[in-house]
């Protein structure tokens, strides 16, 4: 196991060392269920798919992912353990990636615990499992994108609450920019090309096409480059801010 793996394992263990992980998973499962069944009308739709479940993921992640990400670096800087971590023979990039992958894996665990839903629709009907799988992958990747933002912004401060608010805000912008309401508003103000550009930056737009079962290379490139850019910024910020 390389350094990235070692850092990731330590971090992942840290999630489960406290009740935070369980509380988080409980909240996540409750909310996804509540949204799917009550707000999304899972039963009312009487369709054997998980659209009602996935459609709320961007909004859930908006709050829950910054909550996972906020401690990644802010806590390390607050307690001074960053001084231990960054003077071990690990590069900044390895440390950033290790922590990021741990948080992402944690999201993956939470997400995979919603599998009973998938089983339920298969028992009740005959869903398109390909679409559901694609949606799961899309949801996971989107969580990764939110996390990259959260991880980067958590490096800016020693205060986890500030880290949470900053990343929730930025994630909100990246999500909202695809909402029709915002798009209509932008179109009235700016030329088509600008609103298109903003639309292209939206998680909603990319995620929705995935949940319809279309895995487009452009969506993959979008999320991959977004994650790469935020993590790169994360490394730069750590190098600049770690000592202060």
């Amino acid at each position: 196991m390389g350094n990235v793996g070692i850092v990731a394992m330590r971090e992942l263990r840290a999630y489960f060392a406290t009740p935070i992980a369980l509380v988080f998973i409980f909240i996540f499962l409750t909310l996804t269920g509540a949204f799917a069944f009550y707000v999304g009308g899972f039963f009312v739709r009487a369709q054997a798919d998980l659209q009602a479940f996935f459609v709320y993921h961007p909004w859930l992640f908006l709050l829950l992912v910054p909550a996972i990400a906020m401690r990644l670096w802010a806590e390390e800087r607050k307690t001074g353990t960053i001084e231990i971590l960054m003077t071990l023979p690990i590069s900044t990039t390895e440390a950033v990636l290790g922590k990021y992958f741990a948080a992402w894996a944690f999201c993956g665990i939470a997400l995979s615990l919603t599998a009973p839903m998938w089983i339920t629709v298969n028992v009740l009907g005959d869903p398109d499992n390909g679409v559901i799988l694609a949606s799961y992958v899309g949801s996971f990747v989107m969580a990764g994108a939110y996390l990259a933002i959260g991880s980067c912004l958590s490096a800016l401060t020693k205060n986890q609450v500030i880290a949470f608010i900053m990343s929730a805000t930025v994630c909100f912008l990246f999500t909202m920019s695809g909402a029709e309401l915002v798009q209509d508003f932008v179109r009235t103000l700016a030329p088509e090309i600008v609103s298109q550009a903003i639309f292209q930056m939206s998680f909603l737009a990319h995620f929705e096409s995935v949940t319809r079962g279309l895995i487009d290379l452009r969506d993959a490139v979008f999320f991959a480059s977004l994650i790469a850019i935020w993590l790169f910024a994360n490394v730069v910020i750590i190098d600049i801010k770690k000592g202060s």
Partner: protein, 319 residues
């Protein structure tokens, strides 16, 4: 094994480290002394590759820390100020993590962890979360983390700060044991610690290296080095003082106290040479009734104050 050259670190307008050059070789234990805010911790953070220097170079075991931080960090153990550690981990899992990062695997890892747990006496708390440990144990976890891989270079920032006398003793012994084949830098505010563990003391003030020598050499710089303390009858004081002052070797005589039927004098040596024999002979010759006579070595803390308090008498303190 450690070489600093014209090391400078600026924080905005503040020169935290101001052109420090020094070298530390194998077997040396160097004590960093200096007032709060002198730049000790900052210097250490640069050596360990945590902070980049503004200018100047640091070499550890032949590697430049700016260019090859990871190579330096492999050969270095570091106890940061206050010994931070992951509070929700147990010492066992924390040391396991550090051992893995240090490249130990499997049985070799177990042996290495067992050894350091033995050395730092952590066995009884291995499975308790670090945040619930007492300060002494927390510090030992920090030391274990730093020494686990038996590094050739060891940097410790105030390793005994806030420990009880027994723990201090334990930590100092640990440092002494480890030191033989290493280059060690420790910072401390406890001056007797320097005499107890360091082969060399360096005083840093306002980011500058202002004194460098063995603890004995530094003590030799004390203004009262080799002064003689005499206790005698107060009645004889007025006769004795001028007689002693008349000696060539004597730089001055201070009356320290005059109470309870005893007077206490300090005879300061003019050029720091031993004068006890001469003063003692004079006392006998004149038949003064002295109850006590001994040589003062001077103390590091006095030298420390002498060196770090500015000419105008104001304390140099930017902490």
């Amino acid at each position: 094994m450690i070489k600093l050259q014209n090391l400078v670190k600026r924080f905005g307008p503040l020169n935290a480290v101001n052109s420090i050059s020094m070298a530390v070789g194998r077997g040396e234990v160097v004590g960093f002394l200096g007032p709060n805010g002198a730049g000790k911790s900052t210097t250490m953070k640069i050596i360990t590759g945590f902070l980049p220097a503004t200018s100047g170079t640091v070499e550890v075991c032949g590697f430049d820390v700016g260019e090859k931080p990871v190579e330096v960090q492999k050969r270095l153990g570091y106890l940061p100020e206050g010994a931070p550690a992951y509070g929700d981990m147990t010492p066992a899992s924390f040391l396991d993590f550090v051992a893995q990062v240090r490249g130990y695997r499997g049985a070799e890892k177990q042996v290495c962890i067992e050894q350091i747990v033995e050395k730092t006496s952590l066995k009884s708390v291995l499975d308790q979360s670090i945040e619930t440990l007492s300060k002494g144990f927390k510090r030992r976890v920090g030391l274990a983390q730093a020494m686990l891989h038996d590094p050739p270079v060891l940097i410790m920032d105030e390793p005994t700060d806030g420990l009880d006398p027994n723990q201090k003793h334990h930590v100092r012994n640990l440092i002494r044991e480890m030191a033989a084949d290493k280059a060690v830098i420790v910072s401390t505010h406890i001056l007797e610690e320097v005499e107890a563990v360091c082969t060399r003391a360096v005083i840093i003030s306002e980011g500058r290296l202002v004194a460098d020598g063995t603890p004995e050499q530094l003590i030799g710089r004390s203004s009262i080095h080799n002064a003689v303390r005499i206790e005698l009858e107060p009645a004889e004081l007025d006769l004795a003082k001028p007689a002693i002052e008349a000696l060539d070797e004597v730089g001055g005589v201070d009356i320290l106290s005059r109470a309870d039927g005893r007077a206490s004098l300090r005879v300061v040596s003019k050029d720091g040479q031993p004068i006890t024999v001469a003063v003692g002979a004079l006392m006998r010759e004149k038949g003064f009734n002295i109850t006590e006579i001994y040589t003062e070595k001077g103390a590091l803390d006095e030298v420390f104050r002498q060196i770090t308090i500015g000419e105008d008498g104001t304390e140099v303190n930017r902490g």
